[in-house]
Every structure is written in structure tokens, then in C-alpha cells.
């Protein structure tokens, strides 16, 4: 069954969020929530002598940024329900306390896949995180799955 969607949605950037400030407190709370104890992320003194010259956010902190209020309006719905099926992240510049992060997103790909439990539609949304200097912090591909 062919998926029904407007092909022009692919690649069109639909969202650039307002900058969000990263705080040391947020990083600290996030480390606590996943049990991260690496001193590069948790110990200012130890991190100063490390490769980043100070505290940085642990890699998976990148997925905590909200995509913005219009995100779901622009992501095509392809079937019943919907689940977060996974993420693929490419890391570039580290995220540091004091960084102002913006997100821009577009639909990268839509495809279907048939498995033992039936046919599923996948919508891949690519989000790019940039800091206040315009440096890319990460590219995140969000894979949303729904049954069709």
C-alpha cells in the first residue's frame, strides 16, 4: 500500500525554535536522572582539566530539547497511534552551561516497512541543534512509527 502524503513536505524546514538557555543546574539534574557520574559532566574541577576545559552536557542531553509547539502540526500522521521508534544522533560541538540552543526541523524521510506484526509507516524528522555562535551541536533523526 502506497503511503499518502504531500511529497513537498520532505525537506521543508518547518520550525526554528526560540533560543533556550542551558544551565549547569539542568545538566546536573539530567545526570542525576540517568545516573551519570562521569566527572566530565558532573565535577567542575575535574572537567576543567579535561578535553572540554569545563563541564559539558552528557551526549544524551541533546534529546531533551523540545521541538516547539508547531512540531506535531507539521509531521504527517500516517496511520493508527504512533510511537517513538528510536533516535540517531550525530554529535558536533559540545553543549555547555550558558549555551543558547535553537532547533530547526524538517521531515527527512517517510517509508513503510512490513514485519511479522504487519505494515508500519515510519516518519523520520531531522532536528538540528545550534548554539549561539551558529555552531551545530547535534543532528538528531527522530523515528516515529505508526501502524497502517
Amino acid at each position: 500500500m502506497a503511503l499518502n502524503y504531500d511529497p513537498e513536505v520532505i525537506g521543508r524546514v518547518f520550525e526554528t525554535t526560540d533560543p533556550v538557555e542551558v544551565t549547569a543546574e539542568q545538566i546536573n539534574r539530567f545526570c542525576g536522572a540517568i545516573g551519570e557520574t562521569n566527572p566530565l559532566y558532573t565535577d567542575e574541577k575535574a572537567a576543567k582539566g579535561g578535553p572540554y576545559g569545563g563541564i559539558v552536557a552528557p551526549p544524551s542531553f541533546a534529546v531533551t530539547f523540545r521541538n516547539g509547539r508547531h512540531f506535531h502540526e507539521h509531521v504527517p500522521r500516517m496511520g493508527r497511534g504512533g510511537f517513538d521508534a528510536g533516535k540517531d544522533i550525530e554529535f558536533a560541538a559540545p553543549i555547555r552551561p550558558g549555551d543558547m540552543i535553537t532547533l530547526s526541523s524538517h521531515v527527512k524521510e517517510i517509508y513503510e516497512k512490513t514485519g511479522r506484526s504487519g505494515t508500519m509507516a515510519f516518519v523520520v524528522v531531522r532536528t538540528t541543534l545550534k548554539n549561539q555562535r551558529g555552531e551545530v551541536a547535534a543532528h538528531i533523526d527522530h523515528r516515529f512509527m505508526s501502524r497502517i
Binding site: 536522572a33 545516573g35 562521569n38 566530565l40 544524551s60 534529546v63 531533551t64 528510536g86 533516535k87
Partner: protein, 138 residues
């Protein structure tokens, strides 16, 4: 002692990292990350979403498997360049989860390695699978 690129070989295992994830830890992650959907907060909320019980946010599982890498790298001269995770089966709290990894490829030309990762439950069901690229700076 820090890990060095030269000391690594294909087939080397990372971990395993064994973790008991409680309901409170799951709720704490959801609140910390502003992901307070009912399925992440309690069984009643999850049932409203037609799930058998409370589950961990997929992003929390991603955070846990990433910890295997950050523990392994320590403060060594390496960084995670890429990580991907597939949330195959919902992960439930109040279980002991074990995270495994092993090195599948070594690329001397750019001093990077590839690592397969997975998170499993007590029955060794692979609930989350993934792969990562780690780059060594020296």
C-alpha cells in the same frame, strides 16, 4: 587508566552495566525532561494509553545505553561521534536492566571504532538495540 586506541580490539566487550530502574527514577527522568505523559508516570496512566503498565521514555533508555559508553571512555581521549538506538519493545520500570556492548569495527584511518549496544531485561530479551561510533583524538 584511560583507554587508548591502540589497546582496543574487535570483539572487546563493554560492560555489562546492570541497573535496577525504579518507578521513581522513571518519573524523575520524565519530570526532569518535561515528558510527563501518563504512560511514564504510573500504571493507571499507561492503561489509559492502552499499555499494560508504566514504561520508561525511550529517551531514558537512550540515556542509559549511552552511559555504557561514557563509563567506558571515562576521561580518556575519545568522544561519542554518533549513536543510534531502536526502541524495539517498551521498557518497564521495577526491573533489572543490563546493557551490553562490543566492538565490531576499528578504523585506523580516522581512529574511530564502531560499537554494537543493547539493553536487555532479566529474560535476556533485547528491548533496545543500538550502535555507536567513538572517535579517538590521540
Amino acid at each position: 587508566m584511560s583507554k587508548t586506541f591502540e589497546s582496543i580490539s574487535v570483539g572487546e566487550e563493554l560492560g555489562p552495566l546492570e541497573l535496577f530502574v525504579s518507578r521513581d527514577q522513571c518519573r524523575n527522568y520524565a519530570r526532569t525532561c518535561a515528558m510527563e505523559a501518563p504512560r511514564f508516570m504510573d500504571d493507571e496512566g499507561a492503561k489509559l494509553e492502552r499499555l499494560p503498565g508504566m514504561i520508561l521514555p525511550g529517551n531514558m533508555s537512550l540515556g542509559l545505553i549511552t552511559r555504557l559508553l561514557t563509563d567506558w571512555i571515562g576521561s580518556g581521549p575519545a568522544r561519542i561521534a554518533r549513536i543510534g538506538a531502536t526502541y524495539r519493545v517498551p521498557v518497564q520500570p521495577d526491573h533489572t536492566l543490563t546493557i551490553h556492548g562490543f566492538i565490531t569495527h576499528i578504523h585506523p584511518e580516522n581512529r574511530s571504532i564502531e560499537i554494537d549496544l543493547w539493553l536487555e531485561n532479566e529474560e535476556a530479551d533485547r528491548l533496545v538495540t543500538g550502535a555507536a561510533t567513538v572517535e579517538f583524538t590521540k
